[in-house]
């Protein structure tokens, strides 16, 4: 849909955190001009955590944003924030626990009695009981040490704690850092014990969905084009480079690593086998996610699935 005659519609997209390798599709669509082709002048802003992005979208500061699915549910349940997820970005949970390979922790069970760092409200910590249950270990036996996010890596590498929770995408840079100290790290993923949750989603507020569905649709079309391109193994490096051009503080190697990891969560089996289209929610999984969050986040009420997601804006559904 070429729209050179029409002026571009300004469109603000707010990330859930700082720009990094996991967002290559957005930057690819931007650099390749696909957003422009859709008539959008997209500006990508950084975020300060998924929760913050949900609030900012709710306050109308951006047209769409990137946020984990859990705050979307929580914000709706606790504060009646009228924000919905309009596309899935990462289709599996990327929560993981990292340990030093020389710590003698060979299976999740070995985490019993160990110390794990955390930040207040950390999703790993919140969902730990579920993880423990699924992994068959005594979850109460670990000791959580609260600290700043920035301190978690160093604390793990210098053995101040036995384990540290990180999203999988951070593995590349953690390993790099560990190597400098002559160490290496091992990872236990929450999804590996059968925890079936969505991670990042694209969000928008209900008002925008109702009034400006066309722009959101256009945005998703270009974004999904970006996913298809950037998650193609031969384009990984180029995608990372797109991120680095715009954000020179990002380390290219680490961004490439993150982009590579991102494909594991963006292109899951259901996509590869064609069971679902890119971006598409599965209502059963949404419900399951809601159940988990309602229980573990101690939400004030249980939201209906339709309150927090919609597949209606996606270009293709299966």
């Amino acid at each position: 849909a070429q729209a050179t005659a029409k002026p571009l519609r300004p469109f603000t997209f707010i990330l859930d955190f700082l720009p990094y390798g996991e967002y290559t599709p957005y930057f690819a669509a931007l650099e390749k001009g696909w957003y422009k082709e859709e008539g959008l002048d997209v500006r990508i802003l950084r975020g300060a955590g998924s929760g913050d992005t949900v609030k900012r979208i709710a306050a109308g500061q951006g047209d769409a944003g990137s946020a984990d699915f859990s705050p979307v549910v929580a914000a709706r349940a606790n504060e009646d924030t009228k924000v919905k997820s309009i596309a899935v970005y990462f289709r599996e949970t990327w929560l993981s626990i990292f340990v030093r390979t020389d710590a003698g922790i060979n299976s999740p069970k070995d985490l019993e009695g160990k110390t794990i760092s955390t930040t207040p409200g950390n999703a790993h910590h919140v969902l730990w009981p579920l993880y423990a249950q699924l992994a068959g270990l005594n979850g109460d036996s670990v000791k959580w040490v609260t600290m700043d996010g920035a301190a978690m890596g160093p604390a793990l590498i210098t053995k101040r704690v036995d384990a540290a929770p990180f999203a999988h995408v951070h593995e590349a840079r953690l390993q790099k850092q560990a190597k400098e100290q002559g160490a290496s790290l091992k990872r236990f993923a929450y999804k590996d014990v059968g925890m079936d949750l969505y991670a990042l989603t694209v969000i928008a507020r209900e008002e925008t969905i109702a009034r400006d569905g066309a722009a959101l649709k256009a945005f998703l079309r270009a974004t999904i084009r970006g996913m298809e391109y950037a998650w193609d193994p031969k384009n990984i490096e180029e995608g990372a480079r797109f991120v680095v051009t715009r954000n020179p503080e990002v380390d290219l190697d680490a961004a490439v690593g993150a982009a590579r990891v991102a494909t594991l969560y963006g292109l899951t089996d259901d996509i590869k086998t064609g069971k679902a289209a890119l971006g598409q929610f599965d209502s059963a999984k949404v419900r399951k996610s809601i159940d988990v969050y309602t229980q573990y986040l101690k939400l004030k009420r249980k939201v209906e699935a339709e309150e927090v997601y919609t597949n209606d804006l996606l270009p293709v559904k299966r």
Partner: protein, 258 residues
């Protein structure tokens, strides 16, 4: 007595009244303009939530109070001697001030990991953050106050051929007291902020921790409840400093009253 009554009204009822008025206004604004709850919750909801959490909040309040006071104490203990060095020696002043300014300009959140790794997770690291944030106004204000001693008083004191220490204790410091207290007033609130920032960075106790975790758990009511307590604590601590000032330098406070 009507005079002391009106004074009581002025000193206690008035501030309380203002704060209550602000809360009422806020509640009204909240209802009239239908402010979305995710921006700020209503005071009524905050108070209800705070009341529910009262026992646990009290414990966290103690922790923050302790860290604040310890950091504050430390910043007096370090700040006053620094001010003295700065006033007595221009050489030291020029050597020290840049270093002190550096300690101020480094964002505490940025060096928190270092502090945590060096000092561990206990209260020490929060206390140090509180101290780092709070000591600067004490240094600057005390130094200004000390330097402002009228020359004739210094001459008087020199005429006794006495030690610098005695001049300091008997003349310069008493003269600088109002400015020392001015520094303390700024420092006590900064120490509180410092303690909270320290808790943000790594703690599982204290009001700072409550604010952060309540925010993460989407419990804005509770987060604001903790902020309320924090504010209350700040007001009380500030008032206590002002009270001590009035006791320690009544000659000055009396003038201020007029």
């Amino acid at each position: 007595m009507p005079r002391s009554l009106s004074r009581f009204a002025r000193d206690y009822l008035l501030p309380t009244g203002t704060l209550v008025a602000v809360l009422v206004l806020w509640e009204v604004a909240y209802r009239v303009f239908k402010i979305p709850r995710f921006i700020v919750p209503a005071p009524s909801a905050i108070i209800a939530e705070t009341w529910e959490w009262r026992f646990r909040l009290v414990e966290h309040t103690w922790v923050t109070l302790y860290e604040t006071l310890a950091g504050f104490g430390l910043s007096i203990a370090v700040g006053v001697p620094l001010a003295v060095l700065i006033v007595y020696s221009p050489v030291l002043r020029n050597a020290l001030y840049p270093l002190i300014v550096v300690t101020q300009s480094v964002p505490k959140v940025a060096i928190a990991p270092v502090l945590l790794l060096v000092l561990g997770h206990g209260e020490a690291s929060k206390l140090v953050v509180a101290f780092l944030v709070a000591f600067f106004p004490i240094v600057v204000d005390t130094a200004t106050g000390l330097a402002a001693t009228p020359e004739e008083l210094l001459d008087l004191s020199r005429s006794y051929r006495t030690s610098q220490l005695k001049t300091f204790v008997k003349v310069r410091f008493p003269m600088a007291l109002p400015f020392f207290f001015s520094g303390l007033k700024v420092a006590i609130t900064l120490a509180l902020i410092g303690a909270v920032v320290g808790e943000f960075v790594g703690s599982d106790k204290g009001l700072g921790y409550i604010i952060l975790s309540a925010t993460s758990y989407w419990k804005a009511d509770l987060a604001f409840g903790a902020i309320f307590l924090l504010s209350l604590m700040a007001i009380i601590l500030f008032a206590l400093v002002a009270l001590v000032e009035r006791i320690v330098c009544p000659w000055y406070a009396a003038e201020q009253q007029q």
